[in-house]
Amino acid sequence: MNKKTTIWQILLYVLIPLIPLVVFWIIPLIVSVWLSFTNWDYISPSYDYVGISNYTNLITDEAFLQALGNTVLFALATVLPILFFGFVFAMLLNRLRRNVTFLQGIMFAPWITPMIGMSIVWSWMFDPQIGPINQFLEILGLPQPKWLTDSDVAIWAVIIVTIWKNIGWAMLFFSDALSKIPKGLFEVSDIEGANWWYRIRYVLIPLVSPTSLFLFIILTLDSLQAYDQINVLTQGGPAGSTRTMLYLYYEIAFQQFNMGAAAAVAVLIMIISALLAFISMKISKKYVFY
């Protein structure tokens, strides 16, 4: 049915667009894997193959294990609340039906803002003396943590900022999904006398499950890449309590210039991402209702 595609067409339509993809994605991915078996330090022109010792050093390194734990905590503690609140706000907006554009606009606004700029603002809001958060907590008579300098609390400050920034984004996707649900479905469950929990559990949630899964994957992959807010708020501290795998990678690569070890961290991040994507696809085949 098609005309035969000529060599020139392939050159123009396929090879040219692939050049930047190959140069800045494919080659770097392969080179990263290769580098992770070396001890290259960026400055010297030579390097040695060190086998898997970069990896074995990492998994016995406490800083790495701490970063791994922080990454998991950060992912779970950001993704789940974003999904939950995004869904709840979308549902409330959906109930209002009319005049929601303004409210939607306000809730989505944080997503537009630059993470660096808003993290600078939040770093002052978290200030124990002059920050409005602790002043507010004082009025309520609640404990006022030293948000950014207490190693038990700092990661929660980073998590709060991340949730704040992304709720509106998740909400939009849920709003979109909810608006596509046929109204008739609710009328059927009305007639059957279903209560509100039944409706949410058996009508709403299954219908938004593709959206939830999509958001879950994207948000989790995003959380693995979180950098800007950590850099501004805590720079991985105090005592490494907010250092995620990506932040560790950045420190090893671009502060210590230990490229081999950093590449090993990068490869581990890749493996985690790929696993996540794979598992999510399996789950979607089994449980997600289209």
Partner: protein, 288 residues
């Protein structure tokens, strides 16, 4: 078993419920915009007002001079221009290249088409940061270190845009393309005259998302630029923030600088709000 009221839940909210909903959502909304409002107010305060331990919410006498003060301390307008110009060029390049590849992947037949699609697919899920070490070396080998061209060149491809366009190009009726081919139209004409105009919304979605990301981009540009004239806005702002120390003397100036960095996209957003919201969620390509 159920009261009448319960049956109404999720179907239609009555007036009182609407009021309650609006109040709840307004409170949530206030929390969401509070950092922005607080930033704006702080940028107009004096250092004394900010550092005072008693809560002063509104600035006594708005200090508009904080803005000119911030602009004198670092070339923020230059940074904004850098962000704007690189993001614009990047978006145009991405659209052009993605259109070509998406067209080939959907409308042309050639050996290895599926392989290429699988390769593109596999890079979609991977964090960009994992490519930074080799990319850093590649950029420096190309002699593009510390240049805006380096930022543009390394961001020319956007796998998300390729996907979104591919998804949309698949929906263009085959008959239309066959008819155009029968009329003797070249592939080039079919792509730009038929397929692209029919996918206008997807192109706008992809542009907006990519523009925001590239305008606000921080980590990668901060690695490959190190002279002031090449900073993007987030890079310049963070350097300024770090150079000011943590003791708050210049806090209102930092806030003014932050307002300058946040404002352009915010203005654009509130002017085109409906548009933004429509595009971002419809771009998911998710069956909801």
């Amino acid at each position: 078993m159920c009261s009448i009221k319960e049956v109404e839940v999720l179907v239609r909210a009555n007036r009182i419920e609407r009021l309650v909903l609006i109040v709840i959502l307004l409170i949530v909304g206030i929390f969401m915009v509070f950092p922005m409002v607080w930033m704006l107010l702080s940028s107009l305060k004096t250092t004394e007002e900010v550092l005072g331990t008693t809560m002063t919410f509104l600035p006594g006498d708005p200090q508009w001079s904080n803005f000119s003060g911030a602009l004198e301390m670092a070339p923020f307008l230059r940074y904004l221009w850098n962000s704007f110009s690189t993001a614009t060029v990047i978006v145009l390049m991405q659209l052009f290249l993605s259109c070509l590849l998406a067209y080939a992947l959907t409308q042309m037949e050639f050996k290895g088409r599926n392989t290429i699609f699988m390769v593109v697919l596999s890079t979609y899920m991977l964090p960009a940061a994992t490519t930074y070490i080799p990319s850093y070396v590649i950029i420096s080998k190309m002699g593009l270190m510390d240049s805006l061209v380096g930022i543009v060149v390394s961001n020319m491809v956007n796998v998300f845009t390729i996907f979104l366009l591919r998804q949309n190009f698949l929906n263009v009726p085959k008959e239309l393309i066959e008819a155009a081919r029968a009329d003797g139209s070249s592939e080039w004409t079919i792509l730009w005259r038929i397929v692209v105009p029919m996918s206008k919304n997807a192109l706008i979605n992809a542009s907006i998302i990519s523009f925001i990301g590239n305008f606000n981009n921080y980590l990668w540009p901060s690695l490959i630029t190190n002279s002031e004239e090449n900073y993007l806005i987030s890079v310049g702002l963070n350097r300024f923030f770090n150079s000011q120390g943590a003791f708050g003397d210049t806090f209102p100036l930092i806030m003014a600088a932050t307002v300058i960095s946040v404002l352009p996209l915010m203005l654009m957003y509130f002017l085109l709000q409906k548009y933004f919201i429509g595009t971002v969620s419809s771009s998911s390509g998710v069956k909801g």
